[in-house]
Symmetry: C2
Subunit: 217 residues, 2 copies
Amino acid sequence: MAKRTPRGSVTREAVMDAALAVADRDGYEAVTIRALAAEVGVPPMTLYTHFADKAALREGMRERAFEQVVTATAEGSWQEALEEFAGNCRAVLRAHPNWVPLLAAQTGAPSAATLRLFERVFDKMIADGLPPAQTVYAVTAVLSFASGCMLFEGLMVGAGTAPLPTARLDLVRRLHSPDQHPGVAAATAAVDDFSFDAVFELGVRSLVEGIEKLRGS
Amino acid sequence: MAKRTPRGSVTREAVMDAALAVADRDGYEAVTIRALAAEVGVPPMTLYTHFADKAALREGMRERAFEQVVTATAEGSWQEALEEFAGNCRAVLRAHPNWVPLLAAQTGAPSAATLRLFERVFDKMIADGLPPAQTVYAVTAVLSFASGCMLFEGLMVGAGTAPLPTARLDLVRRLHSPDQHPGVAAATAAVDDFSFDAVFELGVRSLVEGIEKLRGS
DNA sequence: ACCTGAACACCGTTCAAGT
DNA sequence: ACCTGAACACCGTTCAAGT
């Protein structure tokens, strides 16, 4: 599967890191084969030694970025592990808003780092009495929520370019006619400190509590 | 803002519907200006009468697709309204898996249809005693989860091309070495009827319950 | 004034020429 | 055998020529 590294040349990891760096600096769309080749310092066609096509490049970028999420400690309850996991997703994507589109990339086999994280969480949940099957549901739900949250936040604040207060103001301003939508106007007017952090925490906490209830079933 | 429709030509809505049809039939990537022009039956450059650039086209597609979600009834509690809303998101995206990448498109002003939905949900939540500010958090959380769920499902089953049991089997097969990850292996082996529907329902229910708790605060 | 054909500056990828 | 330059078939968009 994995092509061997051409002698004396860059590694696959270095290529993926360079691609992530280009996305960080110039935007997700700027990651072209030619631009990446310039970044790495090799002729464009040489890059195909490290991936089959552009979809494979994106998948490699996504997996490489995900490895930064999997820095969880081995301590604590599964509840804490799940919250830390979600929090790491958020931290990484807030630090690198241009990586958000990678969430929509096709997936391949999970990396060893990913499996190590799942292993730890699954073990804790089973030890706590959760039905083994439900652990998969739990992790899927939390990961989905975290992904959707980041996607939605990027959508509303323009991929992290605007500060959060601006996002709220924009939301209010976008209301075409407050007269026709008094409920929306009242709700948005009452939010004077809207924060995606709060939405994120509310969601993760609610999901964890919902999962906890599965213990008795 | 909106360019006026050229006389005797197609409307903006028709262009967006045609774009959604192309995505449905040939895939999201196949929606090029030239392919869309052929679908509509006009010269490529004529399309720029209806949108400024490709990003605006994608935004128009997303908004148009979202209008299919906003078919909620006016009856029932806000809990039911939120669940119906999330369910509609799921139904539309499962019927049109090639539209999933639209979730990552930049957003513009919400359409009148979107506001009408929010209006209804906000009104119900406020009438039920929820703090007005929290209603925004609630809707954001549910919408984020629904989006993330569809994104994640599309990621795992290849944008709806594979049936769900296959998705589970793939998940298990992707485990590099079951020996090294007994917890993961046990958890996935115990899941003999993994269903994204169940994850979706678990998540939506948990989020709604988490929001309900805000009533007293 | 509005519409749109031709042209431009890209893009991902093929393939055969180089080594 | 492996690497990669040139070439191909696209792409979104500009712009000036048409009406």
